[in-house]
Symmetry: C2
Subunit: 361 residues, 2 copies
């Protein structure tokens, strides 16, 4: 859900990309993003594309042909980043788990220690499974072998503390439409000083010109050198979203998402549903309960949208038909939003033949 | 200038990327783009990025490592596409001319015949110089040696007839913010059936995953397979812009731009200014007069924006300080728009010390 103020901001007249007003807008965005990423990185701005553009910018700029990239692979976006790394000619090694499972600190450390890669990639909030991985132990292990760490924070940024600096993440990217509640189309990215140093000492040019972070940096930094024409309208929207977040306070916003998540989990438990991921490993703004035995997830989702105007997603890949994926973020992450959803969901389950087990009652 | 209706369209609520309403919006856009490109190509949609993303998609998808790409190089964007091709590991050969000069049919043909490249690239409307090159003779020569042709139509689409099919262009890309008068952020692209065939028979994967046209096609075509999340808001804006163009009629819109251009050239001539590019080779919506002897282009531009609120651009690269670049497109390409500009420009020139030569008077 996008706030009305954000739609209003996007109807402001478009100005030139070197206009002092627009430059001020880009600076505001960078300041807001640093707070939400939890970083002091100068090198923080937006890539002109969606979350996958940020993912590919992270891969293309830090992989040189023949480098080894180690992926902690337990979901759809771990597979996507592996595929991108192969295309940019990395040697990809993977530690695999079933979708929905997490890596223990020891497993991650042992894998990184053994492989000694140039780059490690993990997904902090895996949209396909609901697993949250803060990343501190991964980053610690990676830095011991002098590897950089890329973290996918597409689903976490704005809804949960990402803590780039505290976790030791070198490169994190995200999107504008989930936790930030702006329209899709921009990909926030932040790069640590040690990763910037690595970037500046590359031996080969980045093959993806459009995603070349050093060229983008020359536009966003003082020299304002032309690279491409950013989408002024989307910057207006993101800037207003970040202003709304600043007014609430980042800590308050994160707490609100945690409370809505806990209320939802409790409600789902009372309905007799189990969560796919154990407590402590769950994303707050994307809740993934298991579809109860004998219930068709597609029928429930169809009923929800047709009778209540609420869209939730199903599982896909190995989780197809097995889970519901319930986004509860931005303005919707409230007591009322949660209760309204639970009431509709309970009705939809019943209409699709679900009978609560006696124990849960 | 973006029409108020386009801003209104962009404040429509965001829906999901598989929502039937959004699918209808994407189909409308594809139909509108085909008319303006002058093509029957099925493979016509938008890349989620600015014009340079469309440029790189064209290069990355049709270049395989070691292929030869021939560039007709007479301006800034010819250099940019050469740079991209090198990064995607093409062997780049160039026929060079000074900025502002055009290639004769014979020169282009002789170059292509001699080099026998896999791909030829040219810029139909070169923003840095004001030169327009329709491309028919280039395409004819390229097809004789079985090469594909990429055309940059960033500045021409929507303001001039691009005539993809009539000229024989295989791949054309553009942007949303110039001739189409929507906000920046999307890059329309069209691919001929013979180029699609070449794409399908690639031996290597496209290194730029985000710009992989076959993956995008799977989303835009019937299968609706997820690739990335397009910016719903920008699609609403582009769709409304194309509706406005349809209401006026493409032919009428092109004629209006031609008339405004002719009126402006006449007015500039009466002021004693010369155009950089000879008649018949000029872009209609981007007019490039030479800065008169003894006048500082920066002062004139500063005066124009401070006293009249009108922004025009200067030259850059080898044309720095030597030309003005005057965009006259979309709603502004009218008799009134032209006269208003000429009156302000004349005042600004005089204020900056320009005295009309006696002959021009």
């Amino acid at each position: 859900m996008v706030e009305p103020r954000v739609y209003e901001a996007m109807s402001q007249p478009i100005v030139g990309i070197f206009d002092p007003y627009f430059v001020a807008v880009t600076e505001d965005i960078r300041t807001g993003l640093r707070e939400l990423f939890g970083t002091g990185n100068d090198f923080t701005f937006t890539v002109s594309g969606t979350g996958s553009a940020g993912m590919e910018a992270s891969v293309a700029n830090f992989v040189e042909p023949g480098m080894k990239m180690a992926v902690l692979a337990n979901g759809f976006f771990c597979d996507r980043i592996s595929e991108m790394a192969r295309r940019h000619r990395a040697e990809v090694v993977r530690l695999e788990k079933s979708w929905g499972e997490s890596f223990s600190d020891a497993e991650a450390q042992e894998f990184i220690q053994r492989e000694r890669p140039h780059i490690v990639a993990f997904v902090q909030a895996e949209t396909s499974t609901g697993v949250f991985t803060p990343g501190k132990s991964i980053c610690d292990a990676a830095h011991k072998v002098d590897a950089l760490v890329i973290a996918d924070t597409v689903t976490s940024l704005g809804a949960m503390p990402v803590e780039v600096d505290r976790n030791g993440i070198d490169i994190a990217y995200s999107c504008s439409q989930k936790g930030l509640s702006a329209p899709p189309g921009l990909s926030p990215i932040t790069v640590s000083p040690r990763a910037v140093e690595r970037l500046r000492s590359r031996k080969t040019a980045v093959d993806a010109w459009y995603l070349d972070l050093q060229l983008m940096d020359e536009y966003f930094e003082a020299s304002k050198k032309y690279h491409h024409t950013p989408s002024i309208t989307l910057f207006y929207g993101l800037s207003e979203s970040l202003r709304i977040i600043r007014e609430e306070g980042a800590q308050n916003r994160w707490s609100r998402h945690r409370r809505a998540h806990e209320r939802l989990v409790q409600g789902l438990k009372e309905l007799g549903l189990e969560m796919l991921v154990p407590a402590g490993r769950r994303i707050w703004n994307l809740n993934i309960p298991v579809v109860p035995e004998g219930v068709s997830d597609a029928s429930v989702r169809k009923h929800l949208i047709e009778h209540h105007g609420i869209e939730i997603l199903g599982g896909f890949g190995p989780l197809a038909g097995k889970v519901f994926r319930i986004g509860l973020m931005g303005p919707l992450a409230s007591e009322e939003g949660t209760d309204q959803f639970l009431s509709a969901f309970s009705e939809a389950l019943a209409a699709c033949g679900y009978r609560m087990p006696t124990l849960a009652r």
